[in-house]
């Protein structure tokens, strides 16, 4: 069987895989990014809270702390180059007792040791002036202005787009089933019956990193999914804070957060519950209670009446809770990037660099590309433009004047752009453009988007899915119409 040959194959197009791919795209090597889902970022990353942590939660003895701190510093440059939504809104940890203030002091000391800049221990007045929405019982807290927020899927889309622009191949619907060593190469076989060859394989398969490792006859370990449920509240919801609000952390989790998202909605969560089911992304009513009890304790104005949607995701954790990023000791040219739970998103740019260095140590020749272009054109978003600017873009392309998603103000041209970038599922378009993410949750725009996708791609409406596989949306055409009229 003839299969295409690469220097590096990266398994899993989440924030780590995408980051590694983009980093490697700066060098004269051939790279392929393999993803089992219908689109990139559709695994663990999709449900990420989108926090760019400041770097005071973990001691420097852990790999994750070192990568977190480095990663945090890299986001301004990445944002400048790629244009995904990112704001350094700052993080506040709130303490409600003298005991909790002791933990705040510990976090502060840890942050200082980690080199986190401009942190502040705040008394009650200072913390309330920073965040007037807080419960007035607050006694003080920690302020870390370098913390921030991003939209995780937009970040991954941008990384992948940039990687593709610089020559990386991306294959979706490629579920890695087995890796077989054949001389200098790995033969990577997919469940879908395809195969590719690569000298090096990077296993950034998230929840499935343990299964991938096993299928390559590399180290045996167990990824333990830790579930998190989040609730999204409408734009300008009551209680919308200025900063990301953290409670004083517990043993395994940073606690329930109150997050002002980068798009102006409010998010509360996540819970942290271990599960043994890698597909368990159900939300539950008990956790709704827990999340809102804790969130409203910190910010009393938050109201569950303003929920527009809820979702759950799974953090891929390993025993010991640190990241596991190293070359296999059993199988040469196989690199583990596993156990990337929080603060994985923050660390991901640094993980890209770190894995690049590992590959170099493992013998991969890395010569910088002369024509490497780190920049992406920033997509036009009608909702962010002034009337005059909208006028200009509508003159160039009238489809910017046709608002398809009324809640988030997304134009037809933006939908078409998402489709042209390969996002042809409803969720792909939603994550790329925000169409369907607002208060009506797609009730007014779903039929319009279905028609646009069908028109632009030729996919019949019955074959369009929400997120690939069996997630069909339309059963069939009305019989009378199907018989008498052509498809529109």
């Amino acid at each position: 069987m003839n299969s295409k040959v690469y220097d590096v194959a990266i398994i899993g197009a989440g924030c780590c895989g995408a980051s590694i791919a983009r980093k490697l795209s700066a060098y004269e090597i051939s790279v392929i990014l393999l993803e089992k889902c219908v689109d990139v970022g559709f695994g663990v990353t999709k449900a990420n809270s989108g926090i760019i942590h400041a770097g005071f939660h973990h001691p420097l003895t852990s790999l994750k702390a070192r990568l977190e701190i480095r990663g945090n510093l890299m986001f301004d440059q990445l944002h400048y180059e790629l244009g995904f939504p990112f704001k350094r809104v700052g993080i506040i940890v709130v303490a409600f007792s003298v005991e909790e203030m002791k933990t705040v002091e510990h976090l502060y000391a840890q942050g200082v040791a980690n080199g986190v800049p401009r942190m502040e221990i705040c008394g009650r007045e200072r913390i309330l002036s920073l965040e007037p929405q807080l419960n007035s019982d607050v006694v003080g807290g920690l302020y870390a202005p370098t913390g921030g927020i991003i939209e995780p899927y937009r970040y991954v889309f941008a990384l992948v787009e940039s990687a593709q622009k610089n020559g990386v191949d991306v294959r979706t619907h490629f579920t890695v089933e087995q890796g077989i060593k054949d001389g200098d190469y790995w033969i990577v076989k997919s469940r879908e019956g395809e195969e590719i060859r690569a000298k090096y394989v990077v296993n950034s398969a998230g929840l499935f990193a343990d299964e991938v490792s096993k299928s390559f006859n590399a180290e045996i370990y167990k990824i333990i999914p830790r579930k998190g449920e989040e609730f999204l509240l409408q734009r300008n919801a009551r209680g919308l804070p200025n900063h990301v609000i953290f409670p004083v952390p517990g043993a395994h989790t940073k606690g329930i957060l109150v997050i002002p998202t980068v798009e102006g909605t409010l998010m509360v969560g996540p819970t942290a519950i271990e599960t043994d089911d890698k597909y368990d992304i159900e939300t539950t009513s008990q956790n709704l209670e827990t999340v809102f009890m804790q969130a409203t304790y910190m910010v009393p104005a938050i109201s569950r009446r303003e929920i527009i949607t809820s979702f759950a995701g799974l953090r891929p954790t390993l025993k010991g809770n640190d990241f596991y990023i190293e070359p296999s000791k059993i199988q040469p040219h196989f690199i583990h990037v596993a156990g990337i739970q929080s603060p994985g998103l923050t660390a991901s740019p640094a993980i890209g660099e770190y894995v690049k260095d590992i590959l170099k140590q493992e013998g991969l020749q890395l010569v910088e590309k002369k024509n490497y272009d780190p920049f992406l054109p920033h997509p036009i978003k009608v909702r962010e433009l002034s009337l005059e600017q909208i006028e200009q873009v509508v003159e160039k392309d009238p489809k910017y004047g046709h608002i398809v998603c009324r809640c988030e103000n997304i134009s037809e041209a933006e939908i078409i752009e998402a489709i042209s970038k390969g996002h042809t599922t409803l969720d792909g378009i939603k994550f790329y453009t925000r169409a369907g993410m607002g208060r009506c949750q797609g009730a007014f725009c779903t039929y319009k988007i279905l028609k646009i996708v069908s028109r632009e791609t030729g996919i019949p409406i019955e074959k369009i899915t929400k997120r690939g596989d069996n997630s069909w949306i339309i059963f069939k055409r009305l019989q009378a119409l199907a018989e008498n009229t052509p498809e529109t």
Binding site: P398, T446, L450, F475
Partner: protein, 420 residues
Amino acid sequence: MQERNYDVVVIGAGAAGMASALKVAEQGLKTAIVDREPFLGGILPQCIHNGFGVHLFKEELTGPEFAERFIQEIIKSDIDIYLNTTATSMAVHQPIKQINLCSSQHGVFRINARAIVLAMGCRERNRGNLSIPGTRPAGIFTAGLAQRLINIDGYIPGKRVVIVGSGDIGLIMARRLTWTGAEVLAVVEILPYPSGITRNIVQCLNDFNIPLYLSHIITKIEGKDRVEAVEITPLENGAPNYAKTFKVACDTLLFSVGLVPENELTQSAGIKINPETGGPQVDTRLMTSAEGVFACGNVLHVHDLVDWVSDEAQRCGKELINFLQGKTEKIEQGKIVVGSNLKYVLPNKYRLGEANRFSMRSLIVRDKATLVVRQGEKTIRQFTLRHVKPAEMFHIELKPEDFKEVVINGELLPIEFSLS
């Protein structure tokens, strides 16, 4: 930016927008009507069932037929029609109002107008608003979206359907889906009584033997890619009895769980909202907190019959004309107080010297209910209502002689409505 000048701009070309636009254009006012969709009629064209027009036209019409009567009038009139056009923002706190619009056909442009009618209608509450636990597969639709997909676009959303909520659109869709060959397995209603009007319960569920589960809730949605099943749990004494939970295998879930007036444009313009209706606060002229900005139809409060929407919109048009002619500037208005067992009373003011028509919704289900109207301590009118329930809006009219001009501290004495 291109600017156009009108006396009146109507935002939304559904039942309310069309009726109010026709009323004002009748008087020779230069009028524009704007809608995001490529056609006039709003949601009516997708409501292909009958039952429209019984009060207004004294005959039973389908939604498209009802809409067509207005559409033909609009086309014949001098009203300028802007379709596929979205109103993005407006400045309303000066005598000449500015409405910014955009469309692929006209680009970005501004309408300057002496008065605005808000007629943007409403949207459906959805699964997220209810925080129903479970997975988030494909196959979850609001009833209105499913109706649109079938009746306008010709696409059937699923084969085995459970409907959540017994709102009118959900009931209509139970019948419509059955006619497409789909199987409607259950209609699940949290309340002990249906949310939709009685006629729809009989004609859409009973006639097709579709089970209606009152006092039941959906406690879980299952399915990885597409909906596979839902869990239904009865409520007993207000709490779910999980021991009696049962599962229904299905591939589609429709939500018909209430409507919310669509007032983001209104709010962004700084117009005050009534938290009980979700619509703007209005006085007896149906004028909002911004002078010269009027509201009618479902953007003001959610109606159960389109006939009442058209009726309200025509009144709104008349009031707007009077306003522009300077006839209502100095009218005195008193406050309305919403008393026991009423969700809201609309408008939020009353005025002397003429008949006042009020729309209201009950919080209770009761036969032979009594509506008491008081001014101060004095009961000024009493109405016996054959049957009240939250799902059915009712209207009453007070005559000019019903209330006296009683002024306390420079204000007319408020009128209070209460139901028992």
